[in-house]
Symmetry: C2
Subunit: 345 residues, 2 copies
DNA sequence: ACAGTCGCTGAAAGCGCTTTCAGTATACCG
DNA sequence: CGGTATACTGAAAGCGCTTTCAGCGACTGT
């Protein structure tokens, strides 16, 4: 497993000065042919290009950033990257970032949850041209501070702190939950619907829960606190929640998990307990991650345009960086996708 | 969807000079208290810290990089981030990167596959302290060039180009395939085993295919070219491959897909065609992504330590950056995980 | 009492680029 | 033919940091 270790010695990198010397011009000229910022004689261009090739010259990004005072980089702040929710999320962001010709710096939260608050901010205002924040890692007051400094920030799946106008893009959670639960109630006559919520402080989870309460109320179904469970938007969380539900023997004919991963866990627990889904208990989720159609039975859920959301968020950020303007809020419509776990054939 | 657009005006950032002025010291002193590189009087430290707080000062990363001549950033080169394989991969890398106190710059390949080859290399030798390369995006000759320059690079799921000693970390694919197929052959008596391979040029896929051939040979099963299909390590690819297989009516009693996502697709196609899995056709995959245990039936596969691999790769890179040494090759053991899709109860 | 140390600090040189600014040579206009 | 724009180029001044270098005072040891 550990054969010959390998060693390395660094080689001095070429700088713009080397190129200039080799081409017999000044560094200003080299800079000009590289950036095409001023007319340069064809013959000179040729010489410079040639020198660049010979020396395999690549400009030192930091020097460039320092001189032009921008980084052409955007930062992405993520919670711990756990679920498959991140695959489309990252794709969307990456697409937008590449389209804009920027680079992407990623920073994720520590599992422990405690943030590193040091003087050297990894994604601070100085290291990137803007920040895409997905997670509750950054506290409201830090966001506010950033906003007040006019530093470009956009929020993904989280709304702006009061007092700020930070652009955000989110799903229309309420409408999704409404469609989902009404389907369960009207089409399948379920009324004892458990809700397995996401982590404390997660806005999506909060919105979904309050929509859940609204729908129950609208149908005059009393809310049974025993049907409300925690999880954390993870498979294990969903599994544990359902285990608890079953252990406590609380009657229920449907489970709505705040997200699909939890639904997967719920399904696992239900099967292990010998419950038939959907006959005895229906299960529905939210998000429609790629996993969902493969579940057994295939999961009825709400399709959230995950990739689109992150793509648009990144685009907003780019707009904010380049034009100093963006849409305050982008609310993305979601769509009910009926598969079999709700009881439909 | 697009309410009031929001506008922003930038605010001038504080520099070390501002801090120095406010604290009534020289910038050298400020730098020293920030970096703790030389003794500074307690009272002075206090004044500087205070000034830093007041001004909300964060050092300009580019300036720092330029001065110290390192970026404290590592670059990650990914293929298009498509499958859930990336979730553990990113986690592992992120963990290692954070442990080492570095930042992570991500660059993924263009979907079209053509690389941007411009003078301004996004992840070039100048923008990061080292590169973690997962994908065949970078050609062998570019890797070689980097290696010759002594630029730290480590390869993930890809072996070093001939002539270089670039460290790499990979799975022990052959052994995994052997265990998997021998199980299929010995325990379940399957002999017409189709193989759905990954994308051209993917080393994992190549290794798995050649191991497949070896195992067949060892069991004196003739290789039927009709049983060899392309896909691309995607769900859709696996689905399409199996559709083709069925359409051509080629007899087969098992399908081995080069990865689990493709297995998920295969399962879908099989079910749609009314084939019973595993009774009529067994299906096995490779990787054991989180999805696999949820498939219907749960997928027998080979567990590859995806997160560990990327974690170790990142650690090797850090070692290479800091100590100029690393292990030439790290081969990670894999493990058969038997579920129901092979025919086991 | 004096050289040698040590704690602490500021001036200044650089890191590798971009970008004015100034300048020369050539073209073009009336 | 004088004047003015135009193509092209180099010197030099930064961008915001780190890091020598040198210096000053206060201690130490002999």
């Amino acid at each position: 497993m550990h054969p010959e270790p390998v060693a390395t010695r660094r080689v001095q990198r070429a700088t713009i000065t080397d190129v200039a010397r080799l081409a017999g011009v000044s560094i200003s000229t080299v800079s000009r042919v590289l950036n095409e910022t001023a007319p340069v004689a064809d013959e000179t261009i040729e010489r410079v290009r040639h020198a660049v090739d010979i020396l395999n010259f690549t400009p030192h990004a930091a020097a460039r950033m320092l001189a032009v005072r921008k980084t052409d980089t955007i930062g992405l702040l993520l919670p711990e990257i756990g679920s498959s929710f991140f695959v489309p999320t990252l794709r969307g962001i990456e697409a937008a970032v590449r389209e804009a010709g920027l680079d992407l710096l990623i920073f994720t939260g520590t599992p422990g949850g405690q943030r590193r608050r040091e003087w050297r901010q990894p994604l601070g205002e100085h290291n990137t041209d803007g920040l895409l924040v997905f997670s509750d890692l950054l506290e409201a007051r830090e966001l506010t501070l950033l906003f007040q400094h006019g530093f470009p920030v956009v929020l993904l799946h989280r709304s702006a702190p009061v007092g700020t106008q930070i652009p955000s893009v989110r799903f229309d959670n309420r409408s999704g939950v409404r469609k989902l639960l009404e389907h369960l109630i009207r089409e399948h006559g379920r009324r004892r619907i458990a809700f397995v919520r996401g982590p404390e402080g997660n806005e999506d989870s909060f919105a979904r829960e309050s929509a859940y309460r609204e729908v129950l109320e609208a149908h005059e179904i009393p809310l049974d606190p025993a049907l409300l469970m925690e999880n954390g938007f993870t498979e294990q969380g969903g599994e544990a929640a359902v285990q608890r539900l079953l252990a406590n023997n609380v009657a229920c004919d449907a489970i709505f998990t705040g997200d699909d991963e939890a639904a997967a866990g719920a399904l696992l627990a239900l099967r292990r307990a010998g419950k038939r889904v959907p006959e005895e208990i229906a299960v529905v989720g939210f998000d429609d991650v790629p996993l969902s159609r493969h579940l057994n039975p295939p999961l009825t859920t709400v399709r959230a345009p995950i990739e689109t959301a992150s793509y648009l968020a990144a685009r907003q950020l780019v707009r904010l960086i380049r034009n100093d303007t963006a849409d305050a809020v982008t609310l993305l419509p979601v769509e009910l996708v009926v598969r079999q776990s709700c009881g439909c054939p």
